[in-house]
């Protein structure tokens, strides 16, 4: 589903990703672990289409199509979703209005009819209830004054409504207490199926206790330096990243 080939990326002339290769198949949950500064967030932003980055070489293929030339909204319409590490506060935009606008924008881009308000409300209520999100929160401006946990749950709510084919979760566990972590993980697990893939970026093993990965990649200095099964995450938890940092150097 996702194939990243020989991807090198710079920001302001400073190399961040260095010939990175990565494959995620449909139905797979892939984890990327790595020390701070290894380029994990850059990878997620470049796949999602954030400006500010210079792609020096390589391709990012989604279902065989190179998406690097597409705008962020075109990528979203193709089924890509990024759960932000730091969800952005948007004062003045009511969360509910935003949710409906995003769902309809994606539907329009795919040539589907817009959702009616009753259909939207039904979908939104069901998803919000599963994530323990109060309706009152959806009447507030998007992410404004939300706690860290609320923001992360709101990301998962958006994912549940938008039903992406490939979801990238960038450090979704950061700032969550154990109860919030479980709610978020349940939300992700509920969406797992053989047509959908997840790329879970995390610094710690903890999240992977709740979202069981099929594969674990270790990233260091802008490339994937080791790939294995779930046991690799446990090994990292025991030994830290020191060995891999040295490998890539």
């Amino acid at each position: 589903m996702l194939e990243v080939r020989n991807l090198s990326v710079e920001i302001h002339g400073k190399p961040i990703l260095d010939g990175l290769d990565l494959t995620v198949r449909a139905g797979e949950v892939a984890a990327i672990m790595g020390p701070n500064g290894s380029g994990k967030s850059t990878l997620s932003y470049v796949i999602a289409g954030k400006p500010d980055y210079d792609v020096v070489s390589g391709e990012v293929l989604l279902d065989g199509e190179n998406i690097l030339e597409l705008s962020p909204d075109e990528r979203a319409a193709k089924g890509l979703f990024l759960a932000f590490q730091y969800p952005v506060e948007i004062p003045g935009v009511v969360t509910m209005t935003f949710l409906k606008a995003t769902m309809n924008a994606q539907r329009r881009a795919r040539g589907l009819k817009e959702m009616t308000t009753p259909d939207f409300i039904r979908a939104e209520r069901a998803a919000a209830d599963r994530l323990n999100i109060d309706q009152e929160m959806l009447r507030r401006p998007l992410n404004v004054g939300f706690s860290g946990g609320e923001k992360k749950r709101m990301e998962i709510l958006q994912m549940a409504l938008l039903q992406p084919r490939l979801a990238i979760l960038d450090e979704t566990d950061s700032g969550l207490d154990i109860d919030a972590l479980r709610i978020v993980a349940d939300g992700v697990n509920a969406l797992r199926d053989k047509e959908r893939a997840f790329l879970v970026i995390t610094h710690y093993q903890r999240l992977l206790d709740h979202i069981k990965p099929d594969t674990v990649h270790v990233m260091s200095k802008g490339r994937i330096v080791k790939t294995g099964g779930p046991e690799l995450a446990l090994e990292l938890e025991l030994n830290g990243y020191r060995d891999y940092a040295a490998d890539a150097a």
């Binding site: 289409g49 400006p51 705008s71 932000f84 952005v88 948007i90 003045g92 935003f98 606008a101 995003t102």
Partner: protein, 425 residues
């Protein structure tokens, strides 16, 4: 020096003098002769006049369009049709067509309110004509207008909309005058809509608001036509415990100057001024305020927002003066602009002149761009660029419109903002 000396009349000044000489209107409420002498002595303002620094009218106002004549039956009938087709901003409509109050197009005023044509207005000449050259010019050349008076204690349920309409046809100019006198304890809700001007049309209009003790007024202006020149002066006087809340939406006009002179003459007066300017193309909109705290315990709030796109220019000049003796004044002013293009310009100039020692006054001005992090977040969720930007801009503008207390009027203003945003996308 290529600049004209003040003694040399520009083409426009000569034309205005000729128009004045040829005009024979009897408007008892205006002292035309004295006003024109005052204008002629000053001439059109230039950038050397501090209050007009960013809008050099002497160079921008090249030629005066002919004064609009009195509308005939055909123009009145056409205006009636144009009026029927629009979204109303008030339950009671008063129509000023080509500068004249037209009773046959206007509704009967609500209880407690009288409306008379300026030609019949039994009123002492406006004392404020000397505040600004363009107000003086308005007094000198006014073709007509109306006097609206609310009896003491009158609180009509209906909002009054004054529609300033220009008839279709050759380029022309209008200098109309509206007086709104609000009796003690009365409450007026008034909208002034400016419509129908074409790209060659010019207007220099003035509204004088007088709030007696304990009077209240909600006043909203909507500028959305295509006038080449839209100069609008508001002069307000607030008595003891009077409250004026005024809002201006500027979504039209090529060269726009809105100037508000408000005097808090009575104690415990409360003034709230706000506005939203939506500027694209090469349009130029100047909002200049002078808020004069002349009595103790006054409160004033100024809150303006500007969205400036393309090669447009926005100007905000806000001066708050606290006179000696106006102790316990509480003033706060804010002007915020978003520039949508590298060629868009915003000049923000908040000023305080404080001559009393026991006051709280503050001001702030910001000029920025849309936040790229916010735009990316929305686009990553599937909103195309134009839609993402419109959502952020709507939120920005709605923050200004939130100061309009009447919810249905606020919604009308939001609709107009959304239409403007959609048209630019």
């Amino acid at each position: 020096m290529t600049r004209h000396s003040p003694q040399t009349r520009t083409a426009a000044e000569t034309e205005l003098a000729e128009q004045f000489a040829a005009t024979q209107v009897a408007l008892p409420a205006l002292d035309r002769e004295a006003s024109f002498r005052l204008f002629a002595a000053r001439g059109l303002p230039t950038r050397r006049d501090e209050a007009w620094h960013y809008t050099d009218l002497r160079s921008l106002f090249a030629n005066a369009a002919p004064l609009a004549g009195a509308p005939g039956a055909a123009a009145i009938a056409a205006a009636g049709q144009a009026l029927a087709a629009r979204a109303h901003a008030g339950a009671v409509t008063l129509v000023i067509l080509d500068g004249r109050y037209v009773p046959e197009l206007s509704d009967a005023p609500p209880r407690g309110v009288s409306v008379v044509s300026l030609a019949q207005g039994e009123r002492a000449p406006g004392a404020n004509a000397n505040v600004d050259a363009l107000v003086a010019l308005n007094s000198a050349l006014a073709q007509g207008g109306c006097v609206i008076a609310l009896a003491p204690g009158a609180k009509p349920a209906e909002r009054i909309e004054i529609v300033h309409l220009m008839s279709v046809g050759a380029a022309k100019s209008v200098h109309s005058r509206v007086f709104i006198d609000i009796g003690a304890g009365a409450h007026a809700r008034v909208v002034e809509s400016f419509l129908g001007a074409d790209a060659g049309d010019q207007r220099n209009v003035a509204t004088l608001l007088d709030l007696a003790d304990g009077a209240k007024a909600d006043h909203t202006v909507i500028v959305e036509d295509a006038a080449a020149l839209h100069i609008e002066s508001q002069l307000a006087r607030l008595g003891d415990k009077a409250e004026l809340s005024a809002f201006g939406l500027v979504a039209g006009g090529t060269l726009v100057r809105r100037q508000i002179f408000a005097t808090l003459a009575g104690q415990y007066a409360n003034l709230a001024l706000g506005g939203l300017s939506l500027l694209g193309g090469r349009r130029h909109a100047d909002t200049t305020l002078v808020v004069d705290h002349a009595a103790p315990h006054g409160q004033s709030r100024e809150f303006y927002k500007h969205i400036v796109a393309d090669e447009a220019t926005g100007i905000y000049q806000g001066k708050v003066v606290v006179q000696p003796g106006a102790q316990k004044t509480d003033g706060a002013m804010k002007s915020q602009a978003i520039l949508l293009s590298p060629h868009a310009v915003m000049n923000n100039k908040p000023e305080l002149e404080i001559f009393a020692d026991d006051v709280i006054c503050g001001h702030g001005a910001t000029v920025g761009a849309l936040d790229p992090e916010q735009t990316f977040y929305l686009r990553a969720r599937g909103l195309p660029k134009a839609e993402a930007e419109a959502m952020l801009l709507e939120a920005f503008g709605a923050d200004a419109i939130a100061r309009v207390a009447d919810e249905d009027l606020a919604e009308l203003l939001r609709d107009k903002m959304r239409a403007w945003l959609a048209a630019r996308g």
